[in-house]
Amino acid sequence: MLHSATERKGEGVSLEAHTASVRQMMRACIQCGTCSASCPNAGAMDMTPRRIWRCVQMDSFEEIFTSQTFTLCSSCYYCSLRCPRGLQPADAMAALKCIAAARQMPQHRSSTLFYRYFLRSVRRNGRVHEMEVMTGYFAHMKNPLLPLRYASLGWKLTSKGKISLPRPARGKGKLDALFAKVAQVEEEN
């Protein structure tokens, strides 16, 4: 199985070291809640972004990683746009995702895998191929009931022609350079 550099790097690193960058990013947060009120996905989050940052300040990363909040960040960057302290909450969310992946946290395995297959599909096809993502994801999760959860959404999307069967990928290999560069950057850092 292909692991990203991020995931490989997680091995043997302490959580504290891992989270240092997030601490650095969000220390100066004043808990004004602008990010949380701005967030379009806030309704789905089990913990407000503001609370995540409070946990960062309080060094309660365990609590952060019990939450799914950061995995729900869709990187719309509203929060970063509006943060009065000029902080980058969206980047911090991304960093948290990386940490969860790197440390192969079981509670985030599902979303880590989802991301992995998503990116793999993008890399292979030059765009996302929904069927491929889900097939790989389901196979890896090894949970026979999991596809059922997505069945209704899948039918809906299929009936509207949003999901197509695999076709020869026109963009195949076109993003290789980009992915390679990312891998290189991650390696260097």
């Binding site: 004043i30 407000t48 503001r50 609370r51």
Partner: protein, 1140 residues
Amino acid sequence: MENSNTALVVGAGISGIRAALDLAESGHRVVLVERAPHLGGILSQLDRQFPTNRCGMCRMLPAFERDAASQACLRRGLFHERIDIRLSTQITALSGAPGHMQVSLRTAPNGVDARRCVGCGECAEVCPVVVPDPFNAGLTTRKAIYQPVPHDRSTGYVIDVQACTQCGVCASVCPTQAIQLAQDGRRKFHILVVDDELVVRDSLKEWLLAEGYSVRMAASGAEALEMLSGQPVHLMLADIKMPGMDGVELLQRSRQILPELCVLMMTAYATVETAVEAMKMGALDYLMKPFDTAAMMDKVAAVFQEQMAEQDESIAVGAVILACGSDYFDPRRGKNPYGYGTCPHVLTQLEFERLLSGSGPFGGALLRPADRRPVGKIAFLQCVGSRDLQSDADFCSSVCCMIAIKQARLARERGGAQLAATLFHMDLRTAGLPYQRWGEAACEQDQLRLVRGRVHSLLADPASGDPVLTWLGPDGQITGETFDLVVLAVGQRPAQGLAPLAEMTGLSLNPWGFVRTQAHSLVRTDQAGILVAGACAGLKDINESVIQASAAAAEAGRILHATGGTLSVAADAARTPPRDLSADPPRIAVALCTCDGALNAEGAAAALEARLNQDPCVSRIVFLNRLCTDDGWRTLVDGLNDPQANRILLGACRSDAFTPRLRALVAENGLPSQMVEAVDLRIYDREPSAASRQARVATDLAMAVARLKHAEPVRPPGVSVVQHALVVGGGIAGMQAALSIAERGYLVTLVEKQASLGGNLHWLRQTLDGADLTALLADTIDRVAHQPLIHVHLQTEVQSAFGQVGHFYTTLAPAKAAPHILEHGVTVLATGCGEASTAAYGYGTHAAVVTQKELEVRLADQRIDPQQLGAVVMILCVASREAPRSYCSRVCCPTALKQALTLKRANPATAVYILYRDMMTCGFSETFFTQARREGIVFMPYATDAKPRVTADATQGPCIRTMDSILGADVEIRVDLLVLATGLVPELPPELATAYGAQLDEDHFFRPADFKWRPVEALTAGVFACGCALSPRGVAESIATAQAAAQKAVGILRRPTIAPDAVTATVRRSLCSLCERCIDACPFGARALSPEQDQVLINPAMCQGCGACAAACPNGAAVVSNYSAGQMLAMIAEVVKCDV
């Protein structure tokens, strides 16, 4: 070498006015310049001030020598004998050393002769140009000719040169020919247009002629050069690309003939670079083809203004005070998340202020400007362009929280019980002494809803257009709500023009573009001789601005004194002593200005004369024309040259404007100032009929005659002043007060109960911004020791005292010697404060629980080693900001930051938690709050109903449990050190204050006459306080209060006697029954029973002439001169008698 004894004050807002008045009161001369065409700065637009929701601006006026200044609401203008006010004026150059500086002033001509303008407003009526009125923050419109502040008739009308189209209609209707449009000037302004294309020449000519300029044209460079050598040309517009001699060559050659010639290049896009080159060769600017006519005309007008402006005036001054205020963040800038300018229901605080004003767009009715719907729900959004790193504002604007509370309360007053206001904030900064209670009252009495949280942006409801706000509450719930109106607390920005001024003067600015002051000083800049006051060094509330302005005046006065300035006492003394009129029957000379025949409409003058002559006391009546001209004034002087006349009545337009000159004239004639009356003859110009106008004028004149007739010619003797000050308390404030008085040349006795000077500076080492307090203390003690006019009494206490301003008797009791009596003229109380004691949070039961002071001391003597500290909690607001100590001590938050940063920097591994209610890092100290967070210090707010709990057991460190609302759970922290900020409590014994006639407030601080407007003096004259005796404050602020108190003290000490003013109370002893009602009624403590208890005495220096005594006295034994019962009854009889 003597200096001019004149100070220059730049900016006539509250700070500038305060500084100017202070200097004038202490006998110096002042030139007060203001860019705007009116006085008052932002305060001219604010009707009410926190923390009273009332206005007390007039309390700024002098309490002594009241006659030297105007006695009216400051919105109506200001006058002081020793202040030369220059409006629409800027400084253009400044040079020289302290004491001997040369300043160039440039006054923008505004087209109206202020001396001639009678303020009738005919011009504005006919003016066709309508522009937004900045006085109402753009919520209303005005004309291009307008009165800048509607209350202030003293400025007359002025022309907005930018907006004026020079149509000339105003000039044609002006009844006094006061308007001199620049039109004539423009005709004399010759512009040479050089272009090879005829069509360009023609269109330019047409435009320029339409604007009123004179235009000549040349088709080539050669032709142009020929014309230049002939007739005068003020401006040349030269095309770059011309056959033969091109524009650049023309520029070079023309400047050989006329080196000063202004040239604007005309260029197409292709030759812009050449135009830029031309500018390096001396062209003023370039105009891009195709022409943007409006922009082009603005450039031409600017050259015209520049060229035709009167020559700069150069004046010599000894010191300069910059008080040029600040500007405000433009919420349209940047991301504009609150839709200002897009959603019409979003206003700035200033706009809302105008909306609430009686002189605002709706006369004070609370309606939405956009649709005039009544307002029911208002949201106040704080920190718009403040505390926002995204808009380069790592500072707090200090005043917006209080303004929002004020406006919420005013809105409630206007809107009634159904009005609901919500204030969104991160920290509610109620840092002034009375502000906490006031904020609480807003919540309790006016149901102001406080929400801790930030609204991220604003959406308009698609149906109604009402603003919809969304925010995250402390409980983690996202709430959306629709409001009628949203008010943005826009933050401060440096005043436009401050940067060039700084460049001109060499002043340093701080990272945010405000004037940088020296360590421990709020007023000293890095340029000797240039001081700063008010918001140009950061926005301040009125209390702080007024203190700082007085401190700046003290420093300026010190410079003037040190460099040889002489006070104008000599000039005072040189005045002719008033004639003794006690035996003479009243004889009134009346002079009436006919104002170019306006008075004599339909033969009114004769009727008026007949009417006035009915009174045998009227000895002569002189009609004269145009008193506003020098000729007119001469006629007056000649006409009144009647040795028999002992009272003068003048009727003219805008009588206020003549009062100063009239007073001088009367003084020359040896008449007391109450023997003159000026009546405004032109305020009834709008009367429907000539008859009613005449009737009203006649009534006013008759009233004035009645008043003069019954005027009492005798004035009570003045109050003699012992020119010696007593300062009680030898901390930093007391020492500075003593120094600031002594440096002006007066004796000071400085009394300290301890064995050494220094007070709290003995244990304070440095300030939050790193300034060294140990060095400050050593330096100050040294300066005191070397100041021969200061007598220091250590280990000495004040045993008892009595007396009044001018002459106090204080018994000083040294520890080791017999008590002795000191006689002095003023008293400054600088008794300081101490850290409050506490028994909360386990203090006293566990060694690891310390106060801020203890931490400071133990860090200094190394009893606490930061390396040993694993975790530290600091709890702020211990028994502060809640009953009974409902005030903020101001210093604790900065101290906590200072100490936290010290600990963190010494040992980054230490976990530091600050448990706070609202962080009061006002102004630029906000940046340390940011720094502290960046360095990992954790800030956790707590509520008063869920305070932290401490369990301390002897073996382990204390354990603090506190509710974190964001985590929604208790957090438990075991610490090695718990630091409590207990706040400051005053150390002013009530009996000490009352011995001098001062009072303490409910928190036992010194009660100032007015917290905002007279912050360092008691209501009873001659008693001052500074430093923490006034209210809690840091070192630099304490020093400023000391300088301010010293300045006020010098205002009294500067002369051996204080003469009574025209309106002053007296006692008719023969009528007095000694019931003492007048003593009770006097708010200023000016009345007292004589030591023999056989008469009521008045201290005329303390009396403010309010007449409370006279109204309380049943039989006229208490008399207020100029408002005596005789005068009042006679005036009443006259007004009732007059027919409408």
